[in-house]
Symmetry: D2
């Protein structure tokens, strides 16, 4: 365990703040024409208070995994916020959602890891919460996953409690590392290398300026289906398919976890609607949500704070009227669409378990495809 | 049509205000020991502003039906309130619920009729709404039903638009007629005569005094299952079963619509939870929710007003913290349990279509059963 | 009423069989590059047994409406089939879905009309069913709607029971009229003229040859969002916007009802998954499912017949294993995407209530946009 | 850890087979008059093939916890069965349910433990599955919980992977130990000692003989609400309340996990309906499903086997028609009602963490209450 832990420490140092988005091109930098106006970081952390932390585990031939945490109000806060969730296709796990559905409240971080580390991360988040949140006597944490068993030795159970603690303790606002990091380390999307991606939108309304931020752990889709900004990029790049005996059979792979954050004053049932819109972003990218995909989305709002699922009291709330949700829906669609492409663009070619090799989408060929279809932004 | 309409007019006159609950014994008056503290009327109209209207159609040998409306804020208001719904067993209809589930808002009355008059009532509520609610350009009304084809000539389609208009126009606060009235006219419960019943509970809390009111249109259940305040009354009165060739085969009959109203400051997702508690009241009464039963419940709160499903804006709201919902849950269970028994106690023996005869539960034998099991309240 | 009825008769004659798809170009004929292999008619009626009927009401200045029925097994059959449903955004109505969700079974036709004719159609379908289906003692019909109040005098309640009977009686297999017909007569999509559209896909599998057919009543979306086969056609044709004082405020318009039929041996819970995939077809076309949109989908399978919601017995069934659903999911996405574009391509410019004018998408400019983005199929 | 493990070993030995139900009186033996006909063991294991295993951890002053597993087809089988789930109130966790909802299939055991051991048990079930189920490459196990932090040092995380392996390996058919065993070790119900309980019903039908079995981990409810067979036992025994500073504040305690097994040929959507009926059993016992209760139910059928969530193929199935479900619904209500009382009757007074003492319901006083209300069975 020491080995992985030190790997983490090193990686967390180098990824946490230094290797930020600014230093690698993102999808917009390559000329992908997305709609809407992103926030300054074009990241979920544009929503004030939201913090993201990764622990990335890359070690030896076959450890290619990790854990990513999203803290709605940051690691020093109670993190009790309104939330809603939706599943487009449910071959996956997001624990804690049963209580979110009913209580309307998310308590604590959202953690994302690989399929076979859900339990360890669940246990670790409880342990961290009990030790760091005053007065906490119980916890039903939200742990989600996608399957990285192609590149990662998933049954080695390499994610340990220390890795979870590190991801939380290293969580921060600011630019969010994308691609082969955290829970996204060993993931694939449209049979290219995938992983973590993020994006945001800023909305001006008569009722204030609202931000919608999205973070994805993308691990789904077959190559021919890939559309980027409507362009059939997957058909344009039929080569560079995953290599190796565990590279998949071209069916049923995948999953995507999407976290949507906003600072708009919306209620739990409205957040469920917002979460549902992530589907439409996937639709734009060509997803058909195959049987084996765990496409699970959670949305939360940081507007109201300190509302515990088991607290009483009389709260003063604000609520946006329903028709003012439409721009937030649109922003969610757009940011979900973009976050997936950001994950692809940031990811790097990786070789892992049993020599499986998954290629990153080549930036030049992506631009070439966009140009061919007259969609390359200036 | 004139005939039925005048019947209505007469019945509405005599039932609407004159024949109120005070003049007939209710379940508590007979010594049924219920829990909790009812409001002054022990009716859904204890929730301030709530109005109920019935049109009762009893005519000739086989017209035994009608329509009941519940107006959250009264017939002169916009009736835009937070709402939630739940179905215990769904062999029934409550239109408009799809939008309530998503928008969290009920607009307009809840109307309850027989299964084959849903369309007519739907059309009539739209027509009434378009003519009476300023600025209304569309409506997705909430119309629910239970099946009265045993006693009533259901395929004669005897409920007409005028009957719906009359039920709305005659709606009022105050005591609520129970038993063979309105939509409940031809209904059966536990193979006794059923129909409309109501009950309420008043709660004192640090955050104010809240009322929970329930109205049921009860039409479900087999005799042996009937429990009253835990007492096996159904087993105690095995005789007085429905008579006639359409009296049912002892299986699969039934349905119950339950409307829960409260003035507590609760949000849509909390109202869904409240609606769900009606199930537990039915459980206490012995229901097993058979396949053929349409057990559909809607709950609304009158605390927040004038929130349209398609309105924008920034609203100031109040919300009870989740743990303060538990007393409201309990009140909903208790009032649902009692409202069903009130429907039975108020109902009167009826003969209808093809000579079908359904007996009212005899008050003396109900008391006798309670006494036998040492449960007769003083 | 006579006037409309005769209008119907005439229209039904001319639309029913003669003016079929073959005589007007469809989206594929214009060079829109869709994925997958359609059936011979590229229509929902490629699923054997499925019949579609329209009654179209166009009369005077402001009657622009109608009703469309889809009969899973044809008007002479019992029409008891497995079904599932899903709502992407629920500002709309589809009655009967509560029981479908629980029973897993659709009984009778799916009828689609305008928002304010749901009740009339509901009543008429019950009446028709009682008179035509042997042994039927009750019915909870499935009636869906979209809002045509821009072009149509929706509060004139012009759809009458005779129109519903006519739509059912005229229902047939074969080519399906598209565009300004039936329930789709007065509808708009992406601020072009919309209405009824259809498409299908044929799948070869080791377990047989399956067809997926889709029919839409399309009435949603804002112009800038329109994508056709990924091409930003809406941005390419910013003119030809609806004209007149009731042409909409550019927000919140819309709704889309989608009916998915298949002959694959799938169970109710699998059909719910299939229905959900229609969302992804809308995502491809640019939908963001705004607050005011009623995007409600139903899927049924004709494989198993004569399974009533209140029948007992022991049935022999077949079921496709879950992983064999993925091609059906893909087919549903593709056919939903195409059916919407087919509706647009078939629709014709219409002037209606208060002089509101809604333009059909010009075929030449659609082709021009596809050519500009190098997506015009040969 | 050795200490607890050996404790387990000992307890498993003594509880596993020897201390079976026969040697302690159960609720029926005390004269509680339940409805329906139980199977020979009156246990979930009356459903052929179902196995139950417990690991009970009782050690020192404050370790009072454990884990219980239910294996639908036994520990040597693949355990791929149709399933459905429902939550009455969701302040709790049952992992894996998102995929069950969509796939209709349960793969592997259902494990029940304390709230803060969900992660450990999740991880252990994956590890066990990977090592024991041929060809398994991933797992989304079903782990449920209730909170035992009153009697148990829940934040000591005393459940270890070895305890989970032991529970699975010791799983067996035959009599099921009840009360202070397995996951139920430290649980409370209606402020008496609670824990594991079980019951079953046998149904004769024209389509065969079906068994419905229920197992509960009961940990909910306030004393005054307790009804046993309709008798207000909670009001009859107001003393013997939990003692000690962690004995609870009389609000919001609790949770109950209910597992329903049947061998009837029912489909996933029908199993969801069956799971829902457990609510009505709780209603009979007086539950109001308070905000803090995690009342989560899962139902599975062993009729169809070896249907994996990610398998393809064409399956031959049998299905009971919907109206034949009503007796199964009734059986589920009855067995749920009885299993809770069985848990109470089997449980023994326990002293745990910080000296908290929770009393078992005294058998004599239970009989006395039943006698007072003339409900004591001969």
């Amino acid at each position: 365990m020491t080995k992985f832990l030190s790997t983490v420490a090193v990686l967390t140092l180098c990824l946490g703040r230094a290797e930020a988005q600014g230093e690698k091109p993102r999808a917009r930098d390559l000329g992908v024409p997305f709609e809407g106006t992103p926030g300054p970081l074009n990241a979920i952390t544009d929503v004030p208070g939201v913090e993201v932390g990764h622990t990335t585990l890359i070690s030896g031939d076959s450890v290619r995994t990790g854990v990513t945490v999203v803290l709605p109000e940051g690691k020093r806060a109670k993190n009790q916020v309104f939330a809603g969730w939706f599943t487009l296709n449910a071959d996956g796990e997001m624990t804690g959602t049963t209580w979110i559905e009913e209580s309307g409240i998310l308590e604590g971080p959202v953690a994302i890891t690989n399929t076979h580390s859900v339990g360890t991360v669940h246990q670790a988040v409880i342990e961290w919460s009990v030790n760091h949140v005053q007065g906490l006597s119980w916890s039903l944490p939200v742990i989600a996953e996608t399957w990285d068993g192609g590149l990662n030795d998933i049954n080695g159970f390499h994610v340990k409690r220390e890795h979870v603690f590190a991801a939380i303790e290293n969580a921060a606002g600011g630019p969010v590392p994308e691609g082969n990091v955290g829970g996204g380390t060993g993931m694939q999307v449209y049979q290219f290398k995938g992983g973590i991606g993020t994006s945001s939108r800023v909305l001006e309304s008569p009722h204030g300026r609202f931000t919608v931020g999205v973070l994805v752990q993308a691990n789904y889709g077959l190559r021919p289906q890939l559309r980027v900004a409507g362009v059939p990029v997957g058909l344009s790049i039929p080569d560079l398919m995953p290599e190796g005996r565990d590279s998949g059979d071209g069916e049923e792979d995948g999953s995507i976890i999407i976290v949507v954050a906003t600072d708009a004053p919306v209620l739990p049932h409205q957040l469920k609607r917002i979460a549902k819109r992530a589907s439409l972003g996937l639709g734009r990218n060509g997803s058909t949500a195959s049987n084996g995909s765990g496409d699970i989305f959670i949305a939360f709002s940081t507007f109201h704070k300190n509302i515990g699922t088991e607290q009483g009291g009389l709260y003063d709330l604000k609520m946006l009227g329903n028709s003012d949700l439409s721009p937030i829906f649109r922003a969610t669609v757009e940011a979900s669409e973009e976050a997936v492409i950001n994950a692809m663009v940031a990811a790097e070619t990786m070789t892992g378990r049993n020599g499986t090799k998954v290629y990153a989408i080549p930036h030049d060929r992506l631009r070439e495809a966009l140009r061919k279809y007259n969609r390359l932004a200036p």
